[in-house]
Structures are given as C-alpha cells and as structure tokens.
C-alpha cells in the first residue's frame, strides 16, 4: 500500500515536470532578434519575429486618380509580433478539421498537404485560431490570431518601399513570375487574363517554393489571398491618417452596412500586375474561394492589445 503511494507521487511529479518542460519549450523566445525564426512544437507552425516599428501604409502611386482605396499614404506603428512564415497548409488545417477538402480547379488539386489551405471563410480561419489558442491555453499564452491589415503590410514590405518587395514599377509584370505564384500563361482560362511569364505552377504551389521576402516570409504575394482581421472600408486610411500615427490600428467599421473583411496578397489567379504590397481587396467573411487562405499571427504577452478605431 505504501509503495503504491510512492509510485503515485513519483508519477505525478514526472507528469508535472514533463508538462512544465513542454511548456517552456513551447514558448517563443522572450527577447527575440529581428527576423528570428521559431517553430511551435505543438502546432508545427513556423514564425518569424517582426520587430515593431512605424512605416508608411498604402500606395505610393503618385497619380491622383488611381488606387483611391490604397490612399492616402500614411504612417502607422505596429508592435513586434510573430508572423507565420508560411500560409497555413492543408496538412496543418486538417489537424483542426480532418475532413477539410480544398478541392480542385479545372482538374488540378488544391488539396495537397503542402499547398495552402483554401475554401476557408474568415470565420473558419478564426475558428482555427481559437483551436490553436485553446490547445495552448494550459500555458496561458501565446494567442493566435489573423494579422491586422497594418501588420500584414508591415510584414510584406519588410522595410521595402517599392510596389513589390522585390522592386519593380507599379504596372510591372515581367519579374513577378520569378517571385510569386500568379496567373501566368499556364492558366489559360478564357475569362481570365493570363500573361507571358511562367512561374511553373498552374494552381496553388506548395508553400515556400518562391523566394522569401527580406523578412524571410514566404508567399506573401501570390499563391493565395490571405484574410486579415480588419473590416474592409474605404475610410480606413483616412481614419488612420486622422488618428496621427496610430499604434496597432484595427478597423472595425461596417461602412454603409457592408460587411467585408480585408484580404491581401493576391493569388495564383491574380494578374501579375495586380500583385502589389499595397493592394487590398474586400471579401464577405463567410465567403470561401479557391484562392483564399490565411496565415497566422502569434501574439505574446509583451504585445499590447490592438488599438481599435
């Protein structure tokens, strides 16, 4: 009877030690260096640390009558955050929803484990974040969420100021296929423009097949559009500007009753010239498309809460 008690105590102690060890391992570094990488041992997701800062959000196109919704160019500030190194893949998403099927397009599968998950609504993406967070609740942190629009653009630019992080003019298409998976000449749907460049993929590519941006993030432009946390509004940038260098802006207005969320980045079906860091587009939060996925932001306790407009 006595030995049973001893074994029980030993067993409990081992369990507590194991849990605390995993807990320590599962935490990202407390004082990460810029662009430091970290892999979450629980979810398998990889992250890059983006040291916060202020930057100019929006399009630098000088033509006054163009790209209204990406202007005015204005300054916002974001705190440091961990940005998903890749778009969330089918394999990763199926840990959450084993039955999820990203289907196919024109007989080409979008459902490979390494391909980015698609046919996920904004709500699906949020549910995935909640699931990730719940799995980590025992440690109390970190929390997972979608990037805000400002964080997304901060991440894609990674300090660059050109229309695309590899450079190029506003209307440039020539280099795009070398850096991003876009609607190239392979994709010859009658109703969709295609272009005389080849990126080697007909539909979505397995994540990480194209050169990373200066921060080490892959597929920020092209491959699949990515959901952001913010509501989509035509006033967003004007409100930001009026707020004078807002910190961690998050737009939550349903303008004119329209319920759209921001999507960013373009996809394998986007025209090469439309793939730009500043490009923003609306999508109803319940919509699911063959070009729309997401990536994860990991929030640590050091981060301040998001500032809401």
């Amino acid at each position: 009877m006595k030995s049973r008690h001893v074994y029980s105590i030993l067993g409990c102690s081992l369990a507590v030690w194991l849990l605390s060890t995993i807990g320590v391992l599962a935490q990202p570094p407390e004082d990460p260096q810029p662009y430091e990488q970290w892999k979450d041992p629980v979810s398998g997701l990889e992250f890059i640390w983006l040291q916060g800062g202020c930057f100019q959000l929006g399009s630098r196109d000088p033509r006054p009558t163009r790209l209204f919704l990406e202007k005015p160019l204005h300054t916002v500030c974001v705190d440091g955050f961990w940005m998903g190194k890749y778009e969330v893949t089918n394999g990763q998403y199926r840990q959450f929803k084993p039955a999820h099927n990203s289907q196919e397009t024109e007989g080409r599968s979008l459902n490979g484990d390494e391909q980015p998950v698609v046919y996920v609504s904004w709500y699906d993406a949020k549910a995935y974040m909640d699931w990730l967070t719940r799995n980590r609740d025992r440690q109390g942190r970190p929390l997972f969420r979608l990037p805000t629009e400002a964080e997304w653009e901060f991440a894609v630019r990674a300090g660059t100021e050109t229309p695309r992080y590899w450079g190029g003019e506003e209307e440039s298409t020539t280099e795009t296929c070398a850096y991003a998976n876009v609607a190239d000449f392979f994709y010859q749907l009658k109703r969709v423009s295609y272009h005389d460049c080849s990126d080697g993929f007909l539909v979505s590519a397995p994540v990480g097949r194209f050169p990373a941006n200066p921060a080490g993030l892959y597929d920020m432009l092209g491959n699949v559009w990515e959901w952001c946390e913010d509501h989509y509004g035509k006033e967003t940038y004007r409100v930001n500007q009026a707020a004078d260098r807002p910190r961690n802006p998050l737009y939550q207005e349903k303008e004119d009753g329209f319920d759209y969320r921001v999507i960013r980045g373009g996809s394998w079906l986007s025209e090469p010239n439309s793939i730009r860091c500043a490009k923003r587009s609306p999508s109803p939060p319940a919509s699911r498309f063959n070009v729309l996925g997401f990536r994860v932001v990991m929030e640590t306790e050091q981060e301040a809460g998001l500032q809401n407009h």
Binding site: R191, D256, F258, L269, P282, S287
Partner: protein, 702 residues
C-alpha cells in the same frame, strides 16, 4: 432512474415545442406580411414549401376558369424547359417526364400550366438533365390547334442544351396528333383527343454547350417565393429571391441573382474587381423586374458587368447586357426615350445606377439633374427609379438608364450613318472624325459667328446643354456624347447629357471658401470671359468664343436663359420635382429627408444665383420683376410659354416681354393695364425698363 427518463422526456418535448413554435412564428410573420392576402398560385404550389403554404391557406390554386398563367420559381439545382407557344384559344398544357432509371411517366411529379390564348413563353423546372430521359407534352384541352415556336432546354448551370431548332426536330407525336407541320419557324399541330401527346427524346441530346466559364449557382437560399399571376397579357418566370416582404408600395423592383463567386471571387468576381472592363468581365446573372404593383414584367438571364466603380465607394452600379444567348435580347420592360427621336424601343444594354452619391444616403442628384436638363430641352436619356436586390439583399434605390453607345444610337436613328464621340472613353475612328470636325470650328481666325459655327454645331443644343451644367453646378461635365447624323441634309452636331451625378454638390470646400451648395460655381464652370481659352473640352471653348465674339449669339443665349429661368425652371417645376423625390423617399421608408431639403433649397435659390452671375458677367444691371395678374382661370402666352395668372419673371434691363391671352377666355378682352397705364393691343410686346405689373381688363369690368 425514472426521474432521469422524465427529464429526458421533458427536454425532448421542450425542444420539439420550440421547433414548432419557431415554425409557427414564421408562418405568423408570413401571414402578417401578407396582410391577410393569399398569394395566388397556379402550378406554383409545388414542393414542400408550396404544400405547407397551401395547407395553411397562404396560397390558393386559382380555378381554371380564371385563365391565368404563371411559372415556377427558378431552382438552380434543376434543369429548365422553355416552351414558346402560339395558341388561338385558351388551353392547358401539361409536361411530364421520365427519369433515366424509370420506364414510366410519374404523374405525381408532373407539372402543368394553365394558359390563355396568344403567344406565351413557359419556363418549367425539371429534374437535373442527367436524370431526364423523356419529356411528354400533353395538351389537356382538346381539340386544340397549337403552334410551338421554340423549345429550349437549359441545364442546371443555365447552359443551353436544346437549341430552338433541336427542340422542334426532336418533338415526336405519340398519339392523337394530326397534321404535324414543321415550317422552319415552328411546328403546328392539332391535338385531336384526350390522348394527344408529344414526346421529346432526351437521350440523343448533345452535350452542353458552355456559355460561360464560371458556373452559375447550383444552390440558393430557401425563401418564400413570390408567385405572380399573369393578367393575360404577358407571362414570365418568377424570381426566387424576391419575397413578399420585399415589396414596397409603389416601388418597382429589379432583382439580380448571380453566383456569389462571380461577385466576390477575389480574382474573377465583379465586385472584387470593380475597375475591370470588357466582355471577359461579363458574368451571367438572372434578372427579374417587378413593376410598382409587384407584378413581374420581365425575367431573363443577362450578362452583368460593373459600371463606373472607379470612385471610392462600396456601392456599385451595374450594366446589364441582354443577348439572345442568355434568353432575351432586349429589356422589354423599359422603352426609354432620349428626346431627339420619337422612336422608343426596349434597350439592349441597361445601366443600373445607384443613387447613393454622395455616399451614405439615398440621393437623387443624377436623376434630378437629368429632369432639369430634360426640362430645358437637352437631349437626355430617360431614367426610371427602382429598388435593386442583389441575391436577395436590398442594395437601395437605383435608377435605370439606357447605356449610351453606338447600338442605342442605331436604334434611335434607324440607320448607322452617324458619327459619335464619347467623352471619357477611347474614341473610335468615327469619334475622332467628329471630334476633329468640332475642333475645326475653333480654327476661325476672326470672330467666331453663329453663322460659321452653326454649319457644324446645333447652337441651340449647345446653349441648353451647357445651361444644364451652369444651373446644376455639374462639376464633371466632361461626359456624354457628341453626335452627328449624317443622313440629315442640314446635319449639325449635338450633345447628349450623361452622368450628372456630381450636380448640386459643392465639391470645392476649403477653410477660406465656405458656401452652401446653391452658391457654388455657375457660369464659371463652362464660360471663359476672355482669351486665352484653355479648356480641354471643345464645348466651353465654342460657347465662350461665340458669346464673346458674336453679339447675336450672346443675345440669343441671354434671352434663352432668361426664358428657361422664368418659364421652365420655375417654382412650380421645383416644387413638383422635390415633392416627387421626397415622396419616393417616403415610399421607400426613409424619413431622413435632410438631403431633399438641401436639394429643395438649391432649386429655390439657384435661379437667382445664376441670374445674378449672368448680370455681373455681361454687365446687364439688376434684373427687373414683371408680374402678370388676372383671373385665376386664365392662361397667358408669355414669351411663347403658357403661364397661369400670377406669373412672376425676372427680365434683364432692356430685354422684351410679350404677353397675350393664350386661349379663348369666357370674358371679352378689352385692354391691358401696364403699371396702371392703358395699352390697347391684345398682344403686349414691351421693352422692360422698370418693374412691370401687367393686368388684363375685360369689357364687363370697364
């Protein structure tokens, strides 16, 4: 244990009760929405919902004696059959089908349509094409002479499977059919007896011919469909997305149904790519138009594109293209006039334009500006207000306007021997030719005269066209069409107004300049008082030079504008238009009429602003007030316009006023009192040098 069972039973009972109550609440709401009216239905009480509604007395099957026709709501999971008939007497037609796995017709699953005499289109929903084997068409009223003009079968994706010719070729008499006759434009036959049947073998039907790359929706939200009873003059398929509760008193409705992916897909959707243009950005949609009484007047598939949308806005305008391949080649519910022709024809391309500019409200500045332009004699496309529903979601107040372009002009002129230049657009070769011709007028080295310019340009149209911008404060008037009808012996170019949505709105606001809307620029929008004439648009250059260089044209324009302000844009017109749009808002259920008040104030104050600016620019001195009094029932002819007693008009000093009694009046005219001085002539023609009060005196009043 027993208590657990009791709890479970209670919970189940509660759950069932809740479901039941929820349904009951739905039907109670429905009944309230119907305001005690039953929805009349013919064959439409099919399906589960139809059965439930019928059981609850919410729809009724009309007796056959009350001849009517109707068609089932569209169901995108099914194929569709259209039969176009000519029948001399009222009859009824039934359609049965067999599915591939079955050998016999299933009477329980057949549809029937009660029809009136005349030419009819019927659209029936059938099971998915892949499940169909045979169709049987059974005229149940015998004997009957029937002529089938076309049979078209659509797959679930709205792909045409049976083209009109194919359908007729495949039609075979089963029994009771005499003298079946194909004549190239249809097939005629007589149904002799109760067994008369025709059969259509679908096994031989060729594979679908895709008409659109992106699929039409297969699944749609369940809703209570509004079923439409035909009045015997027309019949159309109904729209599934408009429910009874959508209907608002006195408001026509346009319902567009489109695959959500064709709207929102980030790379190929219309709304997500608002600025994309061209045929490759046309998507199939289904369009239903209900008149202000809720009656379905038009329904067809259409090609849908974005219109405008380059501005910062979330609201969207659309263009609808009516093409044969979609079903209807014209929008028969709208036969707009433009003004320069008496011909009216249904449109092939329709712009469905939102009225929410400036954003955030339900505004009518475009339509009101068109009303004003029409009132002063400009060539303006006709508009019609309607509520727009997009996939069952209300978008707000929109207006229809025909899409201005070569096809529309061909329709109006009845030929293609014309030139037109479309502003803000890539010009065609013909457009460039006309534009060069217009600019060539400005090469006149000496003073530009009416005589010289009038050889090329309709100068009256030019004056009225520009006055519409002056009055409305239309800041982006670089729009519309310049047109020249080459078939006319005295051909002269004229302009058609288009897109006046930036009227009435004060766009120039700065801390230094604070103006109300009606104080904004008038003449300065289009007139340059002296050289250099720097405008990029030929119209203000022509207008300015003529005004500055030919006194005759200046005299003509000043007299015309005075008359337009006095007789066309008078208080009666202002009051009527503002009341009309205010009523429209009220009908729509909008109580915030702040913007209407602003428009009303604009309309009230603007004449004076324009007049004062005219006086100042042309050094005319202050205008003088002329009043014509008299009995309440008298009608005058003042300056060539019919006016009632109590007329008040402002006249530039030195200009002339003419006054006479317009029609035979019950009393005999004797003389005029002009500022209490007697003038004997029955027609006054006076130079205005002071304020005038004019009064007729009749013989029995002397």
């Amino acid at each position: 244990m027993r208590s657990y069972g009791l709890i479970v039973c209670c919970l189940c009972g509660f759950a069932l009760g809740a479901c039941f109550l929820e349904k009951e609440a739905f039907f109670a709401d429905l009944k309230t929405a119907l305001q005690g009216q039953e929805i009349p239905s013919s064959i439409l009480d099919v399906g589960k919902m139809g059965k439930i509604l019928k059981e609850r007395g919410l729809i009724k099957t009309m007796p056959k004696e009350e001849l009517f026709s109707s068609a089932t709501a569209l169901d995108f999971t099914k194929s569709l059959l259209t039969i176009e008939l000519e029948i001399p007497v009222a009859t009824e037609l039934q359609v049965f089908w067999t599915e591939k796995k079955e050998q016999k017709y299933d009477i329980e699953r057949s549809s029937s349509v009660a029809i009136a005499s005349g030419q009819k289109d019927y659209l029936l929903t059938l099971p998915p094409l892949s499940e169909l084997r045979l169709l049987r068409i059974d005229p149940t009223t015998k004997p009957a002479d029937i002529r089938i003009r076309r049979i078209i079968l659509y797959s679930a994706e709205h792909e045409i499977v049976l083209s009109p010719g194919d359908g007729l070729d495949l039609l075979k008499p089963l029994a009771g059919i005499s003298s079946m006759h194909h004549d190239g434009d249809g097939v005629s036959f007589t149904a002799l007896d109760a067994d008369a049947q025709l059969e259509l073998q679908l096994d031989d039907v060729r594979g679908p011919r895709k008409i659109e790359q992106l699929a039409f929706p297969r699944k749609r939200k369940k809703s209570l469909y509004r079923h439409v009873v035909d009045d015997g003059s027309q019949s159309f398929p109904s729209s599934q997305v408009i429910t009874q509760e959508h209907f608002k008193e006195n408001w026509p409705i346009l319902s567009l149904v489109i695959d959500e992916a064709n709207l929102y897909h980030p790379d190929t959707g219309l709304l997500a790519n608002k600025t994309a243009r061209g045929r490759q950005w046309e998507r199939p949609a289904y369009c239903s138009y209900f008149d202000e009484h809720g009656k379905l007047r038009f329904a067809s598939m259409v090609g849908m594109r974005m219109h405008g949308g380059k501005r910062m806005q979330l609201y969207s305008s659309f263009r609808l293209y009516f093409r044969k391949e979609y079903g209807q080649s014209r929008f028969s519910a709208f036969q707009p006039k433009i003004g320069f022709s008496t011909t009216t024809e249904p449109v092939k391309r329709l712009v469905v334009h939102h009225t929410a500019w400036p954003e955030g409200g339900w505004y009518f500045n475009n339509t009101l500006a068109y009303d004003i332009a029409r009132r002063i004699g400009c060539q303006v496309p006709e508009t019609r207000l309607a509520l727009l529903y997009l996939n069952g979601v209300e978008q707000g107040i929109y207006f229809f306007v025909p899409h201005l372009g070569e096809r529309l002009l061909e329709t109006y002129f009845g030929h293609s021997d014309f030139l037109y230049y479309k502003y803000k657009s890539v010009p065609s070769h013909k457009g460039r030719v006309l534009n060069v011709r217009l600019w060539s007028v400005l090469r006149e080295r000496g003073n530009l005269t009416m005589k010289a310019a009038g050889r090329v340009v309709d100068l009256d149209n030019l004056a009225r066209h520009l006055f519409s911008f002056i009055f409305c404060g239309t800041s982006d008037y670089y729009q519309g069409l310049a047109v020249l009808d080459n078939s006319q012996p005295d051909k002269r170019a004229f302009w058609i107004n288009w897109d006046m949505d930036q009227s009435f709105i004060q766009n120039v606001r700065s801390e230094k300049i604070v103006m109300t809307e009606w104080q904004q620029r008038a003449w300065r929008l289009v007139y340059m008082a002296s050289p250099p004439y720097t405008a990029q648009d030929v119209r203000p250059r022509l207008f300015s030079r003529l005004l500055n260089e030919d006194p005759a044209y200046r005299e003509y324009v000043l007299t015309l504008y005075r008359d337009l302000l006095n007789h066309r844009l008078n208080a009666r017109f202002v009051k009527e238009r503002i009341a009309y749009y205010t009523n429209m808002l009220e009908y729509y259920g909008k109580k915030d009429t702040k913007y209407m008040k602003m428009l009303g104030e604009f309309m009230k104050q603007r004449p004076e602003v324009v007049r004062k600016e005219t006086e100042k620019l042309f050094k005319l001195g202050p205008s003088l007030l002329c009043q014509v009094t008299g009995p309440a029932d008298i009608q005058y002819d003042i300056d060539g316009y019919q006016e009632p007693a109590g007329y008040q008009g402002y006249y530039f000093k030195g200009s002339r006023i003419t006054v006479s009694i317009a029609a035979p009046y019950q009393k005999r005219f004797s003389y005029w009192l002009v500022n209490e001085k007697k003038v004997n002539s029955p027609r006054l023609d006076l130079e205005v040098r002071e304020d005038l009060i004019i009064e007729p005196v009749f013989q029995d009043e002397e």
